[in-house]
């Protein structure tokens, strides 16, 4: 077989510059979209629709049902962390993701369009207390 000859095989400086710029974009977007801090609440959404908010400090089992009432997955809140223990999706990536507990962290299950997201600690987002 006669394959075409590959001429350009080494990384040149122009390309290196593009890599550096991409890294910069990553860095800036990391600062812009970063969310941190210990979470207190967890938010569960299916296809962007909020189906519930749960307190991370209360150990509980949260079944996630779709709008027809079919069980999609089961998540468990324990010791201030949430994890998915079972899911009907084919890849089971959501189970592999393990426990999350920090604000901004998410467990995403693409087949079920489920997003489990830790939202900021309540005390942190409160601007004032009415006595």
């Amino acid at each position: 077989m006669n394959f075409p000859k590959i001429t350009n095989i080494r990384v040149n400086k122009k390309e290196l510059l593009i890599v550096v710029i991409l890294t910069m974009i990553a860095l800036i977007s990391f600062f812009l979209f970063r969310i941190s801090g210990q979470g207190a609440m967890v938010e569960i959404k299916i296809a962007q629709k909020l189906i519930g908010t749960y307190d991370l400090s209360i150990d509980q089992e949260v079944p996630i049902l779709d709008d027809k009432g079919n069980l999609l997955m089961i998540s468990v809140i324990k010791d201030g962390m949430i994890k998915v223990v079972s899911s009907n999706c084919p890849d089971k990536i959501c189970i592999d993701e393990g426990s999350i507990n920090l604000a901004g962290q998410t467990i995403v299950c693409l087949p079920n369009k489920v997003v489990i997201k830790i939202i900021g600690n309540n005390d942190e987002t409160i601007d004032g207390v009415l006595q």
């Binding site: 890599v19 990553a26 990391f30 962007q48």
Partner: protein
């Protein structure tokens, strides 16, 4: 080279791509989010691009998503659309690299970046942009790292193949 020979080579590379994809599914993930993959299945796609042409590599890339979805039961599912958009973007970015005369590792990086950006857009559109934007820096960083790794592997393979044939 006769047309049927091309068909055989493309078929073999497509099969290789699927096997790589399957092996990766079985491997335990060491990344913060298991959805991030090194993307070994990109190697046959890049090889197809350099050894045959862009059209064939598009066949391998999209054919892989199609056949994998049929095999693992997510055909025409949400996950299927995420992957197919990723594949299309990846091919577009390979085309772009060709126009810019990029080297092999850089083309690999672009392909990986395209794949992830395509998925990023679908995820942002369906699951909300805040989630997608949270993953954006990770997407770029992993695209660079794994794109370059895959690129260097492909480069070595291409040199070996050239010497052999």
């Amino acid at each position: 080279m006769i047309k049927s020979k091309y068909v055989v080579v493309i078929g073999a590379l497509l099969a290789l791509s699927m096997i790589f994809g399957y092996i990766e599914m079985l491997l335990p993930s060491f990344l913060p989010n298991p959805a991030f993959k090194i993307g070994f299945s990109q190697i046959p796609i890049l090889l197809t691009f350099y050894l045959i042409n862009l059209k064939s590599s598009a066949t391998v890339s999209i054919g892989k998503v199609l056949l994998m979805s049929l095999l693992f039961g997510y055909f025409l599912n949400y996950l299927f659309f995420v992957n197919i958009i990723g594949a299309i973007f990846s091919i577009f970015f390979i085309w772009l690299s060709k126009q810019l005369k990029f080297s092999v590792p850089m083309t690999s990086l672009m392909s990986s970046l395209g794949h992830n950006l395509g998925q990023f857009i679908v995820i942002g559109y369906t699951l909300g942009w805040s989630i997608a934007l949270f993953y954006l820096p990770l997407i770029i960083v992993f695209s660079i790292i794994f794109g370059l790794i895959i690129g260097f592997i492909s480069k070595i393979l291409l040199i070996k193949i050239e010497k052999r044939f």
